[in-house]
Symmetry: C7
Subunit: 247 residues, 7 copies
């Protein structure tokens, strides 16, 4: 239970607590932990984003539970946390990508996009009358020069660049799994496998349903966002089960 002093500072976005914390930003991070996890893995030949859809009912169209969003031909994001907030940031990111193309006649860089998004997020932490965004994004893509990149945005508006990361519920466990298993020399296929394996760590039975999983890759050859269909995901999962027994 929190004490009296904390309550004195945690109900307005635009104030610091005596020890220099922004409580509303910290609570927004709690909103992210309430969602399922998404995973991003960067390999030499591309970036993988993966997520497991949390389906409430067999009548829900699984494809409509979008946790991966295409931002531009060469960039996609995975989200974790407040779905409606994620949609706002996705819309903002798409606009920024279009603006960049119109203004400079070339695709936006992944880092530039990540920084536009985090600057936008930061503004919701410094003014009164609004709350922070309750969502984290993993932004993956291939730069115009062919470099694969993976960034994370958090509710404070700080951008982080990762080799591989997990956002959302169970983050600590998944992140630690990634730290153990990630190899810089991985190719894109191994990246997909690692992403799915990491997602599986967050499931109760450590198994992923190919229908419920979402995987998107952006490879350094085509520079294109491509979503894997359930069959591709299933075949990756099969391989994984075979592979797992080897370990």
């Amino acid at each position: 239970m929190q004490d009296q002093n904390q309550q004195a500072y945690d109900r307005g976005t635009s104030i610091f607590s005596p020890d220099g914390r922004l409580y509303q930003v910290e609570y927004a991070r709690e909103a992210i932990k309430r969602g399922t996890a998404s995973v991003g893995v960067r390999t030499a030949d591309g970036v993988v984003l993966a997520a497991d859809r949390q389906v409430r009912s067999p009548l829900v169209e699984e494809e409509s539970i979008e946790k991966l969003h295409r931002i531009d031909d060469h960039i996609a994001v995975a989200s974790a946390g407040h779905v409606a907030d994620a949609r706002q940031l996705v819309d903002f990111a798409r606009e920024q990508a279009q603006v960049n193309k119109l203004r400079y006649d070339e695709p936006i860089g992944v880092e530039s996009l990540a920084k536009e998004v985090t600057d936008y997020i930061q503004r919701y932490t410094q003014s009164g009358g609004v709350r922070p965004f309750g969502v984290a994004l993993a932004i993956g893509g291939v730069d115009p020069d062919g470099t694969p990149k993976l960034f994370e945005t958090d509710p404070s508006g700080t951008p982080y660049e990762w080799k591989a990361t997990a956002i959302g519920g169970n983050r600590e466990a998944l992140q630690s799994f990634l730290e153990d298993e990630y190899r810089p020399e991985m190719d894109l296929d191994s990246g997909v496998a690692l992403a799915l394996e990491t997602i599986a760590q967050g499931e109760d039975d450590e198994a992923v349903d190919p229908q419920a999983a979402e995987v998107t890759v952006i490879d350094t050859e085509t520079h294109r966002v491509r979503s894997l269909d359930p069959d591709e995901i299933a075949s990756h999962l099969d391989e994984l089960d075979g592979g797992e027994t080897d370990e």
Copy 2:
């Protein structure tokens, strides 16, 4: 009874509670539960929206208790919750449909419309000085390419796509009935029957008055919103009673 801590965070729309919740959004969901249910069913050849009007007095004109609203030739919505809030969203949806037609010279897609509406709803959950919308919508229609679609919007501004869904009071029970009875291969007539049957589950005597029921269908052939008149509804209900005895 709620405790002191909850009260500290639930009176401003733009703040998170320490565990990452937005209480005003959750209370808006309670407002939806106070209304009668509406049902949407998607079949191969069209979408059905149905509702039972809650008539307070024999002197009220039943037709004026609109829970189903035509948005465009090919899209309609069913609402549950705060009636006046629903009207605002219906007006907004109609404007978006018109704007899309003017701008792109073609009817708006059902998913596009659902996302415009949910983005609009989200903004009422992140800024101070306003409250969330106390209403859920089931948005049904046929896309320009002939695909039938059914979406739900909730007070957080999240869009969900459904095969069949119930919104409003008694949702859990009705939704569970739908999960048992829905068959993907249903035709539009069976969809109407299922929708009426589901509505009946919410009534005390499990019977629906054809005068009080409202049913709207959008079929994949005509791409047109059509409201069933009481006679049509009555004949569906008769069939249903016959059918029910078979089970």
Copy 3:
């Protein structure tokens, strides 16, 4: 007496209580109950609006206590509740009627007007810094196609269509009287009689002073708002007394 929990949610228009209620809207309904009642009756050949003026002093000009207001040639409203708030809505309704005439070159429909007014009312329930309107309106008129219509607006901004209705103090009793006595086949004269009889139910001695009563009719032949003068009202009342003994 209300409890602590209610007080926590009832002082801001733009928040929901934990059970999904908008207390300020409910309190605005109390403001309406503090006023005298107005009655609307729809008959096959027109709509009747009637009210009894609450005169505080013999020196007040009775005619100045307007509870019935002409909106356009073919529409009038009866109000109950906060008089000054009613005047704002009446002004708004008149503007909408004029705008419609200028824009479409034809009189506004009664339902269209009712919905413009209720949309306006709703906005005062969702934003901070304002209070809801403490008034209910009965909007009666004849549509351009000759159909008589009767609508009610409440402080939440919900429109209801009625065959006959009472708004203001004593509503439940008067409404129940209307439910017993209303006959769909009534002509306009019987409608006036029923309206006056209903008003009388709200008086201590169940008698109406022809000087204090206000009656307005809009008939389907002329499509014109017409106020009855005291003599006409008196003759209706006389008839009523005669008629009453017959029952």
Copy 4:
């Protein structure tokens, strides 16, 4: 002494109390009671406005304590309550009168003016960040068609039409005196006498000082606002004393 519950609702203009009251409007009425009374009397051949100046010191210029204000050639107002607030409404009324003359090329009607003023007052009772006007006005004048008219505005923004009325401190007593003494057939001179006599009821010694009294008449012949000079007032008062002994 007021209780806890009242304090919960009386410090914001834009909220209703649970029983549907607007406390700030009621407190503004208290501000009016703190001032001296003004009186208006309507007779067949004109309207009389009268007031007694409350002079704090022999060094104050009595004429500067204006409680009667000319609005246009044919309309004047008497005020009671917060003097500075009255000046704002007087300025607003003068502007409205000028605007009407420019727009329609004829003098504004007394009722039209009263309603413009009350609509303006109402807006200060529905929005946050402002307080209601702490003043009542008696608006008297002669309509373009020669009809004498007398209106009252209160802090809620409700207009009342009167044959004769008193506003300000001691209102109940003075109003009751007017009810006893007013005769509809009175001529303007008798109206002046009645107004002065009523004012005298509010004085400790029931006598009016001709220097301190202010009387304005608007007669149906000239349609002009005319202020009586102290001699005229004195002669009316003398007559009154003579007349009084006759009763």
Copy 5:
């Protein structure tokens, strides 16, 4: 000591207390009492404004402690209370005088100016987010037709016209001295004497230092604001001492 109930209503400018008072306006009057007094005296041939500068240190330039301000050729004001607030009103008054000259090509009347200033002051008592002006002004001047005039403004925004008045600390005592000593037939010189004598009543030793005193006169012949230099003031004071012994 004030009680709990008062505190509930005295911290917002835009609300009334249950007994109809505006506490912030009353507290602004207290701010005026904290300053030294200024005096205005109107005589047949002009107006006198006088003040005693409260000098905190011998190093302060006495002339810089301005309590008398020239507004236009023919109007000056004396202030009492919050110095910085006074400067705002003086600036506003100067602008109004210039605007009037440009618009009507003649000097502004003293009463017109006083009313412009009080209307401006009133607005700071009715809106939230601002406080009232903590200052009183004595506005003296000669009208274009040669009439000498003396007005007072207070924090509520009420204008008063005076023959002679004192504003600021010790007001009651000085005002009562003025009431005893003022003679309507006084000439301008006697007016200066009376003003200085009144000022002296507010001093501990009932003596005025000619260096510290400020006197401004506007006479009906020249219509010009003229400040007396210390020698003139000293000679008036000498005369006064002589005169005093005669009494």
Copy 6:
């Protein structure tokens, strides 16, 4: 320790306390006392501004601790209190000086500038949502006609003109030293000496470090702001030590 009543009024800039005080303005004065003192001395042939830099570390560039600021060729200011606030006022003053030059084609007068600055300061004491400036300025300069002038601004927005003054910490002691030592007939050199001597009173060892001291003079001959370099200051200080022993 302050009591409960004070706390009720001291947290909003735009309200008066019951005894007519503006607490936030008084607290801003406390912010000034927390800074080191600055001194201004006006002599017949110019104005001296002096300050002692409070250096926190030997690594701080002493020259960067600016307490004296050039506003225009002929005007400079010394500040005491909140450094960042001082910079805002210095920027504002510079703009005003430029505007004056552009508009009237001549340098701004010292008093005009002081009043522009104090009017600007006052506005931060009357509106909500801002705090007063926590800084005092000594504004010194030579008017276009050659008159040396020295003004002080305080957080209430009141301008004072001085022969010599100290602002900031220890003000009372330094001011009293100035009152003892100031001679109106002083020349500029003696003014510099007096300013440095006064500054020394505020030091623990009553000695001034020539490197840490800042001295600016504006003489009536050149009308130019000139900063003394450490050598000049040192030589003044030497003279002072010599002189001191004489006393």
Copy 7:
């Protein structure tokens, strides 16, 4: 633990506490202490900025933890504290540098830039509805005339010029180390060494990882910001270890 009185004043940016403090600014300083330290050292032939990246995970791309930012060809900043806030100020600084180049056709001076940034920071401490920036910057660069300069900005908006300084966590210790070790005659290489050595004082093992360290220099010859690569940093660190044993 803080007491009741402090809490009364520390939750709004725009108010002073009774002792003249701005608590929100002081809490923002606490936010800075929560970050790792950055160091700036000015030498005769250039400025050095250095920082140690706080890497949370081996999967984080170290280069993405930017604590040093290039502002223009000739100016860079080191930040400490809230990362997202730092990015806002960096963006603002870059814009100012561009604006200056466009407007004056020459690079902005280091001091000018520092003052633009601090003026911007100050505004976030005087208005309501925003919070101060929780970040300190060390701004280093070479002026167009070849002078190396080093400034610090703090959350109050005060600019300081330094020979060498540390910002962020452990500031006191690092600053004191700098005071002991700094020599004005140092060349740029020694400056880099001192900066790295100072950074090491803040590490637990007093050792710096060349991969994790960031060093940027701006030399007086090229006037160009240059980032040292890990090899250069490593060689400096090696030298340092050798050098250290000599001491």
